[in-house]
Point group: C2
């Protein structure tokens, strides 16, 4: 029977078997401390002699659990020997047991198979797993149905730019940029409320701390809403659930990054400002003229929100029509019923109401230079009765990045893909 | 305030507003019945005059809820008028309100955007959503962490055949056949127990009722197990959870397909037979010589299991080495520690123990004609200490197909992709 490191404190005075990786070896001559790491944490194994084991070797050891106020975690295992289950080569290309801050992003990602073993780096993905679970659970609690749609499409719904082409038997297909078309189809299918968690692709040449070419999109679409305010309300509730769950499940992981989530209750205070209003705020805060909301403007808006509402997030709505996709529901004055959510200085969500009437979708597609013929399947959704609806998508990696305060979104992807990074 | 069809019975005598699609219109002259469908079901709206509304139009109507033993669901809404929120064109290319059994698979899939509105067809994906949730919840309850890995890889881990190529900036990448490499990496990263739900691709030209070129793979990988028996135990527990949840959440959907799940408790009785033993059973049952277990043999084995164990499923283990991928842990006599799960006549799972020692992986890769140089990232998992581990994958669509008794796996994919089917 194996006991996890984190459970050992419940077995003081008893024999226990520990299985894990050799995290650190400290040889004091008369005694040798081997720190063993497993999925629950690390624990100190006390041996009389240095077992001569390489770092990262996989070991099993049985001993007596002893309270030890000086040891990390307050317990240690006093053992006679270590059994080496799988030896690690002695030439580790990167250190595992040091602070990852000392490694460059390049070194971390080039050696990804190994750097993920660093407890601080790995903690990112424990938080990410909690986000995934909390997002899905929250939506299920509101009657949403999870869907899985194809990532291979015949043509882009938003025009053909930015798509990766796939050799598909004798023809070409493309990797989806978002499940937009399909989630609207599933609202109209009668499910009404759907969500999807899946990969999405952007064939863009950006190389910035906030771009990756493959990301996980947390997509939501829902019918019978009155305005984009309902969508912001829904996202607010989702965020509150996610923050509460991360606080509950990931206290140690947050600590590893010296990060805190906003208070779940504070999400209700996220300011909602129109695009014009947002420009005015940025102008006022910076004392400069503002034509567009740049990444710097997004940071300014979030700082303003923290100052005025106590939470570093802002909903911006009423975007100009030309800056949103053709399926966006237009509003008065060349505006739209679309919104973004900025969180800690970064856009992590785009969403909005969609056009639900056939003639209006056709007209809008034409106005955006799209051929209705190429959109026949999509248009059939509207031709045969589609309720008013809207939705949004949260970028999982960006959200994780900002929740933990990571310098680059690439750190929040297990195996990130960018223009040059195609492995591991 | 909207009331769902399924909730109306709680509002008898009160006014309620119903929103949904026009499912059927029955004009009896003095009175007109309009069946309105929403995400919860259908309900009869009684009007004095035919509202002249087309099938599938989206409507809103307010009236008095009245108990009506003869009406479907035992209640009806007596209303004065229907508000048409979004009219449907009158030329529906396929009927929505008839049994889908009358349509060919081609017609169902060609008109997928509309045929998904058929309540029986849509129920498939309610069941699928429950499978997704139950699978993830079960694994979380056993300490597994959800991961999301890249679907774009540089080379195939199982050789280069059967891969779709992607134009990736100036080079080529490929769509993954499975997250095999990555889930092993995440076991070795220290998470130990991981699962992933994501798309997987097979560039195979098959056109059968059990093949699609894009499917959702429910992947599991776990460390510190002693044998493939532990993996079969784990899958048994997962299946029991899924069956219990589907029974709880999807009684109406099961009924729509005249389907039943096995009893959750019966999963513990799933026979486990060796590959040789399975061949003998098929030989005995059919009276024929058996060299390989064919799809027909898989059906025979499941019939045998139903007869002898009361559940239509069999685990087959100890597969010959040549029939399994290079990373499979070999066993004595050119056998492996690999297994399949056959369910209702179809293989829905492949899995097994993996090699966890560096030299053995290298040797096995060479024996399978793979270049260790091309596997450098993968091999680093083992070079630096990897615990004994194994895992398996369940094909979501095949599982759904067999749970509901669908004729083709394509029916269990929202937007299936095959060699010719690239839309919608």
């Amino acid at each position: 029977m194996r006991t996890l490191a984190a459970e050992l404190s419940g077995h003081i005075g008893s024999e226990a078997t520990l299985c894990g990786w050799v995290h650190r070896v400290r040889d004091l001559g008369k005694v040798c401390f081997v720190l063993v790491r497993d999925r629950s944490g690390t624990v100190q194994v006390v041996l009389e002699a240095n077992p001569g084991v390489t770092l990262e070797s996989v070991v099993r050891t049985t001993g007596i659990v002893v309270a030890s106020p000086k040891a990390p975690g307050g317990v240690e295992l006093q053992a006679k020997a270590l059994e080496v289950v799988a030896a690690a080569a002695p030439d580790l290309p990167v250190p595992i047991n040091q602070e990852p801050g000392k490694l460059s992003l390049e070194a971390i990602l080039d050696n990804r198979m190994l750097t993920l073993r660093n407890p601080q780096i790995l903690s990112i993905f424990r938080v990410q797993a909690t986000i995934l679970a909390a997002f899905a659970d929250h939506l299920r609690s509101e009657g949403f149905t999870e869907i899985k749609t194809s990532k291979l499409i015949g043509t882009g719904t938003e025009g053909g730019t930015g798509l990766f082409a796939v050799d598909y038997f004798d023809g070409k297909m493309y990797l989806t940029q978002s499940p937009q078309l399909y989630k609207q189809a599933m609202v109209a299918s009668g499910l009404e409320r759907v969500f999807e968690i899946g990969p999405a692709y952007r064939a863009e040449k950006h190389d910035t701390p906030r771009h990756i070419n493959e990301f996980v999109s947390l997509d939501v679409e829902t019918a019978w809403i009155d305005s984009e305010q309902d969508l912001m309300d829904l996202e607010t509730r989702i965020l509150a659930s996610v923050f509460a769950r991360v606080r509950e499940k990931n206290a140690k992981d947050l600590e590893a990054w010296k990060a805190t989530t906003p208070e779940p209750g504070a999400t209700a205070r996220i300011p909602r400002v129109s695009h014009d209003g947002a420009r005015e705020i940025v102008a006022k805060e910076t004392g400069r003229k503002v034509y567009e909301i740049t990444p710097e403007g997004e940071r300014t808006l979030c700082e303003w929100a923290l100052k005025t509402a106590g939470i570093e997030a802002v909903f911006v709505y009423a975007y100009p029509r030309k800056s949103r996709p053709f399926y966006t529901l237009p509003a008065e004055g060349n505006r739209t019923h679309a919104f973004d959510l900025l969180f800690r200085g970064l856009e992590i969500t785009s969403g909005g109401m969609r056009i639900n009437r056939y003639e209006e979708v056709v007209e809008s597609a034409k106005a955006f230079g799209l051929e209705p013929e190429g959109l026949a399947d999509y248009l059939s959704i509207f031709k045969y009765g589609c309720p008013p609806h809207g939705g949004f998508a949260i970028g999982l990696e960006r959200f994780t990045q900002k929740l933990l305060g990571l310098a680059s979104v690439k750190e929040a992807s297990l195996f990130p893909r960018d223009r040059k990074r195609t492995r591991p």
